[in-house]
């Protein structure tokens, strides 16, 4: 199955399919994802934490009915953790078993040892072997630049060479989504391979819709109150402005407490769901929760 066979003909159509999968994409994001599918280019997503970068990959996987394969990047990530590794204990076991059975054909034994079944596929190899698939390379800015150069190679021709086994070529390249939090400048060469999209926090209306969509048991009014307060908090000067994920947590927390309204009382006890820094909580509380929630 190719992506074209999914028959997604335009960005609005993709937006509609994503919405069915519980992800509300605006025009820009829908166009970005649509082009990534059509042009077979990786999609490079940047934006504040909690704007839904990772969630998009998950939603795309659901929309395409393809498995989501995730590679979480971190400092020191190397090829063995990203590509493949040999399962040494099993190889050794095989060797012992062959020995016990009295196998003397050394050549055959050796070729058996580097059989595909002893290969442990890590995310990148798995994504190349799974068609279709969505490959999420999360927080690529956390990996080292050597890894980036290596990634560039894999993403340009979608082949991986395993010396003992040969070259693995993707029948159909996976849809690749890369995310970055901008802690480090990512190589221009890597960005050039990709479509670049900067994700903003959603508008008030969209945020209400997202809360309603993801948490159907949250009443309209409460969703509206949470979204408005979150928008105001983002305008404040905070160490960590809340993302959509925090709004969802907040709404969930309020529902769990049986609160029907977001008022100063319920806000005070649930503030920890949306603000994760003591300084931020102090600042907002000092400014008065009435001011935050008032006027609507």
């Amino acid at each position: 199955m190719t992506y074209d066979a999914t028959g997604i003909g335009s960005p609005p159509e993709l937006a509609r399919i994503l919405e069915e999968c519980g992800y509300l994409a605006d025009d820009g994001l829908a166009t970005a994802a649509f082009l990534a599918l059509r042009m077979r280019r990786p999609l490079f997503l940047e934006g504040e934490a909690g704007v839904g970068k990772t969630a998009l990959a998950a939603a795309l996987a659901r929309a395409l009915d393809a498995p989501l394969i995730r590679l979480q990047c971190y400092e020191g990530l190397d090829a063995a953790q990203a590509l493949y590794d040999w399962d040494f204990p099993r190889q050794l076991l095989h060797l012992r078993a062959a020995e016990a059975a009295g196998v003397t054909d050394v050549g055959r034994l050796e070729s058996e040892l580097y059989d595909r079944r002893f290969l442990v596929a890590r995310p990148l190899l798995r994504a190349l072997e799974t068609a279709p698939s969505v490959l999420l390379i999360d927080e690529v800015d956390r990996a080292d630049d050597e890894f980036e150069a290596f990634l560039l190679e894999v993403l340009s021709d979608f082949t991986i060479t395993i010396p003992e086994l040969g070259t693995v070529r993707a029948v159909e390249p996976p849809l690749v989504v890369l995310t970055s939090n901008r802690t480090r400048e990512v190589h221009d060469a890597l960005k050039r391979r990709c479509l670049y999209h900067w994700l903003e926090h959603p508008s008030y209306e969209r945020e209400v819709a997202i809360i309603r969509r993801r948490l159907p048991h949250v009443a309209d009014r409460l969703a509206g109150q949470v979204a408005r307060a979150a928008q105001r908090l983002r305008a404040e000067d905070l160490v960590k402005p809340p993302g959509v994920a925090e709004s969802l947590d907040w709404a969930e927390a309020l529902v769990a407490l049986g609160a029907r309204d977001l008022d100063p009382g319920t806000a005070a006890v649930t503030l920890g769901a949306v603000l994760k820094y003591r300084e931020d909580q102090q600042r907002v509380t000092a400014g008065g929760l009435d001011a935050l929630l008032g006027g609507g």
Binding site: D27, G76, F88, R184, D188, R192, K240
Partner: protein, 370 residues
Amino acid sequence: MRTATETIVGFARTVRAAGVAADPERVQTMLRALDHLDVLDPSDVYWAGRLTLCSDPADLPRYDRCFAAYFSGRTVRSVRRPPPVVISRPAAVPVTDPPPDGEGERADPRTATASRAEVLRHRDVARLDEAERIEVNRLIALLQADPERRRSRRFATARSGRHDPYRTVREVLRHGGEITAVRYRAHRTRPRRVVLLIDVSGSMTPYADALLRFAHAAVRAGGRTTEAFSVGTRLTRLTRELRHRDPDTAMTAVSEAIPDWSGGTRLGEELKEFCDRFGQRGMARGAVVVIASDGWERGDPSLLGEQMARLRRLAHRVVWANPHKARPGYEPLTGGMAAALPHVDDFVAGHSLAALQRLAHIVNAGRRRA
């Protein structure tokens, strides 16, 4: 009547002129993107361009400006940047109480026979003539702020250390199941990240060039683990500009990138912006952060203190280089400096080649002194 392609290429050229790195390859990609979209729909054209030509959040406002101007039919007034400020120039700022021999080191009788470079080493960079400045710049380019190393979580093969079962088993496999040698591994070390914040406000004008050149040497030597920013009234990331091999090319790029040359100082606010946007997300975590500034704060010093405390909690070490520190009688009493000092690990000078050498040494070697 122009074709759509011509229109798009013209648009891309405008975007490039506005300072977005929209190279021909990206323009090609934009054209190919439009094959899949409706070239007559302004929204589709907007997104096709934004997704392919831009590669940084800083590009987006420029892109939006160009898009609005170009497609509104107006002739696009090229969004000219102000002419770059020439940084390398003899200081116009008069320096009070010049102490040509007042720095202690001159007391050494050997200095009398020292080479020209040795004399230059201790001269205040604000008082050099053109020839001396070129010489000092050349020497600054040789400084190597090679960061100290920290232990990584990852392992590498070693002669001793912990037992490495994987490598041992691999070795065993190679010998047909016979255990021939036990392999070891030890933690790898990686260079510690270095972040330089260079104050380019008005009061730092005589020193900004030398300090930025120092940053250039550090970025060139430190590879991708070193980052540099300018502070003044705006926080500007300069790492990319400083990656040019040639110092003068890099300085030209830097002068074009910095929007607030010789402006005022709002250190506290900018430090906050740095912590919010970069520091907290990981850039300052475990890093050696160097602030090069005279600490002349126009804003509220308490904000600076607050942010310095925060930076100190994030960073491995905070070094403050103040060009005025070497002046006889200098006391860090200005509001900003006094507020920042309690949160600084190393407080050093930054006015001469020798001082910059020492700064490099402190960055390199951790707490060990020159």
